[in-house]
């Protein structure tokens, strides 16, 4: 993956993940599958929100997917909205409460399948919201079916011989689409497949929220998350499988940062 350059000194002493519970989680327990990448990604978002002093100045708009169960454990003002509509709900709230950091939590099924119109129009309007996309290329919550972002060759329960471009169409690379639009301020793609990628992703999330608070426009932070259950691989094999499959269609790194070009 590309290295995110920074001249910024560390904001806090380094911590082992296991040694503390983020303030914005009511419990570390979750009911997602072994090897799932989503809890790690959500934890990163909550840590960043706290670091940026937004704990009592943020609202999450959550879509429909396995991550939705975090509405019960995230200690954040939250609503779980209709499938795919999070950027629209976030728009209404942010326009009326511009001082609050409003962020969406969506999967690839939620954002690129059901809700493609909402994310693109929110970008076109340049809404000052931060959209977190947990991309595992599969409908995990329903047991492993193809989404718009499933990669070519990916076996799912409704692409048994693998996704075939001629029959099932091509994956939608939403990050690049959003980055190509003038309303987006920051677009980056991270991953949680190893410690280094987790640390890098934290920085991407941080910039995503910073661009919102700077009123620069929409930020999208896509995070590749393991879904061994939905990929039909062993829990311990999720990370390798992910970088061999999704990682090739969705390369990691920053795609756009309008602040960097200023």
């Amino acid at each position: 993956m590309s290295i995110v350059m920074t001249t910024r000194p560390p904001e806090a002493p380094s911590n082992k993940v296991a040694s503390f519970k983020p303030t914005l989680l009511q419990t570390e327990e979750h009911h997602l599958c072994p090897g799932c990448g989503e809890p790690v990604a959500i934890r990163l978002v909550l840590e960043v929100i706290e670091e940026l002093g937004l704990a009592q100045k943020n609202v999450s708009i959550i879509g429909h997917g396995c991550y939705g169960s975090f509405i019960m454990t995230m200690d954040v003002d939250s609503t779980l909205c209709l499938h795919g509509r999070a950027p629209a709900v976030a728009t209404g709230l942010k326009r009326m409460r511009p001082e609050v950091a409003v962020w969406t939590l969506q999967g690839d099924g939620d954002m690129t399948s059901e809700g493609l119109a909402e994310i693109l129009h929110a970008t076109a309007r340049g809404e000052n919201i931060t959209c977190i996309l947990l991309n595992n290329g599969v409908f995990g919550d329903t047991g492993g079916q193809m989404t718009a972002s499933s990669v070519i060759g990916q076996r799912t329960k409704n692409t048994l011989e693998g996704r075939d471009a001629a029959y099932h169409g091509h994956p939608i690379v939403i990050g690049n689409m959003v980055a190509a639009m003038p309303g987006s301020a920051y677009v980056a793609r991270g991953s949680v497949h190893n410690a280094a990628s987790i640390a890098a992703t934290r920085r991407l999330i941080r910039k995503g929220f910073q661009r919102q608070m700077e009123k620069k426009g929409l930020s999208l932070v896509e995070i590749l998350t393991m879904c061994p259950t939905g990929w039909f691989v062993p829990a311990s094999g999720g990370a390798d499988y992910m970088m061999e499959s999704l990682g090739k269609t969705y390369p990691l790194g920053e795609i756009k940062d309008i602040s960097a070009s200023e």
């Binding site: 303030t23 914005l24 009511q26 419990t27 929100i49 706290e50 937004l54 704990a55 009592q56 100045k57 943020n58 609202v59 708009i61 509405i71 019960m72 454990t73 995230m74 200690d75 954040v76 003002d77 939250s78 609503t79 779980l80 909205c81 209709l82 509509r85 629209a88 709900v89 976030a90 728009t91 209404g92 709230l93 942010k94 326009r95 009326m96 409460r97 609050v100 950091a101 409003v102 119109a117 909402e118 129009h121 309007r125």
Partner: protein, 358 residues
């Protein structure tokens, strides 16, 4: 304010803003388009926001977001546009987000989708159907009040005549009871306190403070709608005491019928009128009482028969009930047809009476 001549759409927008509306998102569709145009023009002058949504689905979900933030919010459309909003209207009912939907209908074919709860789940939508601009100005205020009072979606059911007819109005303000502060609103301030807020259709609450869970939550919602039905039904009636024939109509149709019945009374006919002001809750008890001694109950609506179901459920004998309306559009298919005419309505009432006496 002093009396001003306004078309219906403008008066409704003015009244809604006076009532505290601060967010509107909509998509153009005749005859709801002018409402969107006035919102776009006026809201920014009242610390409000109007967004030209990409779809009705996007618009109503934006309104849900603004309403979740504690602000009075609305969307609007008609017919097919209302159909696109039904999932979100159901969601508002089930997760208790107060929003108002201005349905400026082309005709009267939206009765079912307004009153039955067109989305998923056990809920109804309070539906206000004003007969003219004066009542519409009141309903624009009442809609937001009822939405906030019960934390429910409310449908304001207008039509082409209402939207595009000009009348003089002073925009009188209703004297409504004060409502408690919105202690549920998502203002973002509760994070990390252990008491963070949640708006969620499944009602499971948070780890620290579990909710009742889906089944009990939805039971409570259903019970809330039962309670609303007990107290919020509104109607208007006239000449019912000795009426042999009772004519029922809603919205603009109700105003036409009222006029025709007054004319026929002056000519000595024992005719009365009954107009549901709330289409849901349907004023069933009042209709039962008003129709108690009638020989016939006539239903005038510009559709193939929708409200007539509610009428049949609430009179002593459904065989007394006869439809005198029907599908009636103008040539464009976008506007009320030739049936919405006092002369035609009078002929149909007379035919029903004379036909019955032969």
């Amino acid at each position: 304010m002093t009396m001003r001549l306004m078309d219906g759409s403008e008066a409704i927008v003015e009244a809604a803003i006076q009532a505290g509306l601060r967010f509107y998102a909509g998509y153009p569709m005749s005859p709801a388009t002018e409402l969107l145009e006035y919102m776009a023009e006026k809201l920014p002058h009242h610390e409000g926001v109007c967004i030209n949504a990409a779809t009705e689905i996007e618009g109503v979900n934006m309104a849900l977001g603004a309403a979740a933030g504690g602000f009075r919010a609305a969307s609007g459309s008609c017919g097919q546009g209302l159909a696109l909003m039904q999932e979100a209207i159901a969601e508002a009912a089930l997760n208790e987000t107060p929003i108002v939907i201005f349905n400026m209908a082309r005709n009267q074919q939206d009765y079912f989708q307004a009153t039955r709860g067109g989305g998923w789940g056990d809920y109804r939508t309070i539906t206000l159907a004003p007969k003219d601009l004066h009542e519409a100005v009141e309903h624009a205020q009442l809609a937001f009040h009822l939405a906030d009072k019960y934390r429910v979606p409310v449908i304001f059911m207008g039509d082409n005549l209402l939207a595009r007819t000009q009348m003089g109005t002073t925009l009188p303000q209703l004297d409504l009871e004060p409502l408690p502060p919105k202690d549920w609103q998502l203002d973002g301030t509760s994070g990390g306190t252990g008491k963070s807020r949640q708006i969620w259709t499944f009602g499971c609450g948070k780890t620290n403070d579990p909710g009742p869970g889906p089944s009990k939550h939805w039971e409570r919602i259903a019970a809330k709608f039962d309670a609303i039905a007990e107290v919020e039904a509104r109607h208007e009636q006239g000449f019912v005491d000795d009426a042999e024939t009772l004519v029922i109509a809603f919205g603009s149709g109700g105003k036409f019928v009222e006029h025709v019945v007054r004319e026929m009374r002056a000519d000595g006919h024992k005719v009365g009128y009954f107009r549901p002001i709330t289409l849901w809750p349907f004023p069933g008890d009042a209709l039962e009482a008003a129709s108690q001694d009638c020989k016939r109950v006539l239903v005038f609506e510009l559709n193939a028969g929708q409200m007539i179901d509610d009428v049949k459920l609430n009179v002593r004998d459904r065989k007394l009930v006869k439809a005198i309306g029907g599908v009636s559009f103008d040539e464009s298919g976008l506007n009320l047809g030739p049936l919405m005419d006092a002369t035609v309505i009078r002929e149909r009432i007379a035919l029903a009476i004379n036909g019955a006496s032969q």
